[in-house]
């Protein structure tokens, strides 16, 4: 990156470090922090969407919808996360390719499953074979996001269901006495008051989500854990910047990053809980 990095074997001390920390691989490492942030920011709205859908389904007056809500939350919370993280991307990938195959290559005679292979026509592959690598990476990342959202959405559904039930009935009855419709009661009284009860559970879920982001590494997404392992490994003289096993150092950097992120999140959620609980007799409340 700098001019003096042209011949690394001549460098020493601080100049070696300035070149080492700015190699292409290290730039990839720094960019992968953005991948982690992107995952966190992208999943939050989807998790809340799935959470609300699940919670409202469980409170529905129609029995099948209630069963669906109960089934979603129990199943996803009862089955180990790792199974969803490994299953959902593969199943969705194959499912999407299968549907595109049916649509685009309906004249394809051979079966899609041939022995061990899953083969669809070239036009149906998702992403296409000719797409640049970043398309493949983004697609894999989006599938991973969906897997995270499904798993954490179930936990959020449970929290929101509990929070919705914790709002005092008296509040809702008073609203009805005022002549509000069901929709108005929900939007103006139930939902705003629910947040005071939901935030402790949701902030806990956020902390767990932060801790779970290295699962991206399991799914082959090049996240910070991948690059830390890759960069830390022993590099022999074949590489431009040889060094011994520095994995411990790189993983300590990750540790500091995650602790920092958790600390900032905790401050934020404490603030938010205090604001939402003004006048409430809840733990975060300030009566």
């Amino acid at each position: 990156m700098f001019n003096h990095c042209a011949d690394p074997s001549l460098l020493d001390g601080l100049s070696w470090w300035s070149c080492y920390l700015t190699t292409g691989k290290h730039i990839n490492f720094y960019q992968s922090f953005l991948v982690v942030f992107a995952l966190l920011l992208l999943t939050v709205p989807i998790i809340l969407a799935f959470g609300f859908a699940g919670a409202l389904a469980r409170r529905s007056r129609m029995l099948p919808v209630r069963w669906f809500g109960l089934g979603y939350t129990s199943m996803v919370r009862g089955i180990p996360d790792i199974i969803f993280f490994l299953f959902v991307p593969i199943a969705m990938d194959q499912g999407i390719e299968y549907l595109r195959h049916q649509w685009k290559c309906s004249d394809w005679l051979e079966p899609v499953r041939q022995g061990n292979d899953f083969v669809v026509c070239t036009a149906a592959k998702m992403p296409l074979g000719i797409s640049p690598q970043w398309v493949h990476e983004t697609y894999g990342f989006l599938l991973a996001t969906l897997a995270f959202a499904i798993v954490f959405g179930a936990f959020a559904a449970n929290t929101l269901h509990g929070a919705l039930g914790a709002v005092p009935k008296a509040q809702l009855e008073t609203a009805a006495a005022f002549g509000m419709s069901r929709g108005q009661i929900f939007r103006r009284i139930h939902l705003p008051q629910m947040w005071a009860y939901a935030l402790p559970g949701l902030s806990n879920l956020w902390m767990i989500l932060i801790k779970a982001t290295p699962l991206l590494f399991l799914l082959g997404v090049e996240d910070i854990v991948y690059w830390a392992r890759e960069l830390g490994g022993t590099k022999t003289a074949r590489f431009a910047y040889p060094h011994p096993d520095w994995r411990l150092g790189y993983f300590l950097v990750l540790l500091v990053f995650y602790l920092g992120l958790t600390w900032v999140s905790e401050k934020f959620f404490n603030n938010l809980t205090r604001r939402v609980s003004k006048g409430q007799t809840t733990i975060g409340g300030t009566v």
Partner: protein, 243 residues
Amino acid sequence: MKLTTLLTTAALATGIASASMADAIRMGTEGAYPPYNFVNDAGEVDGFEREVGDALCERAELECTWVTNDWDSIIPNLVSGNYDTIIAGMSITDERDEVIDFTSEYFPPDPSTYVALAGYDGDLSGAIVAAQTSTIQASYIASSGATLVEFATPEETVAAVRNGEADAVLADDAFLADIVNASNGELAFTGEPVSIGGGIGMGIRESDTELKDKMNAAIASIKADGTLTALIAKWFDGRMVKY
């Protein structure tokens, strides 16, 4: 921003005719096994197999993109179509041949050697030996009297010897030679080399016979005009292999 670009690309791509697609393939490699394949400091796939792969793609008139994948899932991901070939120092074995197909070999069988801390002279047939999971070395140790300790990456197998978790590591000679040289006398070769497995070939899906034929023709071509011999000499300390 990337999401909208992705959606636009997907929308456009659905309109593209299939005629141009046969020319592009994705080459899958591990990226953690110098000198065969590794990721260099610029973040690109590099190594003997990168140059062989690029030469083969040129001969077969294909456009190749390189992707890396962890060793553990390299075969399942080939089979489900994440990439089209495996070119990762994978020896041709009957067990793997049941699941995928191999092209003809592009590298002769490399003897596997043991490396231990300098001064180790214990009996290797009863020792604790480290190897990478799902390799020919791992199955060799498992079927001998020694105790096998498996690790997901080659780096970890060597680290195990350094910290005393294992007495020795068994891996391809070319990979260990670099490491022994760089260890400043800490590690040393020990015991006798063993010859395991067939040569190294490219892994291809069993249903992809067209690509296999193209690659076999390309491999024959680089053998015939000496390109392969020159590449092997370049990456493996001047080793001369006659093809």
